[in-house]
């Protein structure tokens, strides 16, 4: 199908974009790369009155790199991350995840911030940013705030962002040189949304162990005691963890998440 009628604005500054969103009320939507919103418009699952195009806003394209962290502008594309055009504080995790998102033609347009704001539970950045305990800088009409990635998603396609707020940048802690990570995604065809994701990061120098299950019914599940994954009986643990995460035992979803977790932990070694 074709998209329904909408108005379109392409502001030159973030301040102007925020004003347009505030004036537009609940029926104004942010357009970045359009790789999720485009399909939703064509399928008429989204019917905004106004699209505010933020794809080329300079404030959303800036990246910064210091000793402890990296800041990536929200309008950085998946392809730019895949190709190493922006700093990567994870020794390759970001590029690896980026390469697995949809297809190259989509990655050339789709943005990091757009994927997070869209909040598809099966999306890769939603899970990855929770794994890395990223901070999101969010701008609104009343100023800016920083929220933890793990507080963003409230449910499928639903976030804590107000209709007039925009994710400006993503702040990522730098992993130590001896940090290990593992990211396992199960989908039946490359580029499809995941049926299960499990990811682990172990950074002994910073005292960080984090493990996350993705492609949940809503927000990613942060595994409460990830240390046990490093030296416990992973086969039994995975089953218990996935049950605790809310999947009923002996269902397909349970099994596929448990397998993803086992493979993610095995991949860490």
């Amino acid at each position: 199908m074709k998209a329904p009628h909408f108005e379109y604005e392409k502001p030159a500054t973030l301040a102007e974009a925020l004003r347009l969103l505030a004036d537009g009320g609940d029926n104004a939507k942010v357009l970045a790369g359009g790789q999720s919103l485009g399909p939703l418009l064509n399928l008429r699952m989204a019917r905004p009155d106004l699209l505010v195009d933020i794809r080329t806003l300079p404030e959303l394209r800036a990246c910064d790199d210091d000793a402890d962290s990296v800041t990536l502008g929200a309008a950085v594309t998946h392809a730019a991350i895949e190709d190493g055009q922006v700093p990567d504080p994870t020794h390759g995790l970001l590029a690896r995840v980026a390469q697995g998102i949809a297809y190259r033609a989509v990655r050339n347009r789709g943005t990091l911030g757009g994927s997070l704001a869209h909040a598809d539970p099966a999306a890769d950045w939603v899970t990855t940013m929770v794994l890395l305990d990223a901070g999101l800088r969010v701008a609104g009409a009343d100023g800016e705030r920083v929220l933890r990635a793990e507080d963003l998603v409230e449910g499928p396609l639903s976030t804590c962002l107000a209709p007039d707020e925009i994710i400006v940048s993503v702040h990522l802690p730098r992993l130590s040189t001896d940090a290990r990570w593992s990211y396992y995604k199960f989908n039946r065809k490359p580029g499809e949304f995941a049926e299960a994701i499990a990811a682990v990061v172990h950074d002994p120098a910073r005292g960080v162990v984090r493990a996350v299950l993705g492609a949940m019914e809503g927000a990613p599940h942060v595994i409460p005691d990830p240390h046990a994954l490093l030296d416990g009986d992973i086969d039994a643990l995975a089953t218990d963890i996935v049950t605790q995460a809310g999947f009923a035992p002996d269902t397909y979803e349970h099994r596929v998440h448990a397998v993803a977790l086992r493979r993610a932990v095995a991949g860490l070694a």
Partner: protein, 160 residues
Amino acid sequence: MTRIALKVNGQAVDRDVAPRRNLVDFLRDELNLTGTNVGCEHGVCGACTLEIDGAPARSCIAFAVACDGASVRTIEGFDDDPVMIELRAAFNREHALQCGYCTPGMLVTARDIVTRLPDADEARIREELSGNLCRCTGYVGIVRAIVSVMAARKSSSGGR
């Protein structure tokens, strides 16, 4: 309507468009560039793949209005492109198309693989092709065509 100015296959284009107009319909219906095909209209099948600012993109989920200032290259714009000339010959030779509906998008993706990933093996080529659906060929001929162009380019450049 919103005024947009963009380049299409090197030519300046200046038009009024309704914001809801997607790029592929704009190209086909207003510029009569019918080489780009419309498939699923939600970014999955790859039939509408073309280049925006030098990189492959889906024209069914790109809005023409958002391409103001962009440079768009459709399959018609690749007539004299050296890589595309080799790919067209290889697609013909290897029976890489039957009905041809996916072919314009497939060629744009194939060219991206050849130029961006010159050392890709067959597994990587297949992975990169996962965003372009073909329901006739089973992909065997398409993969073979891409492999043969990559091999020919390597041997002609002194085995890079």
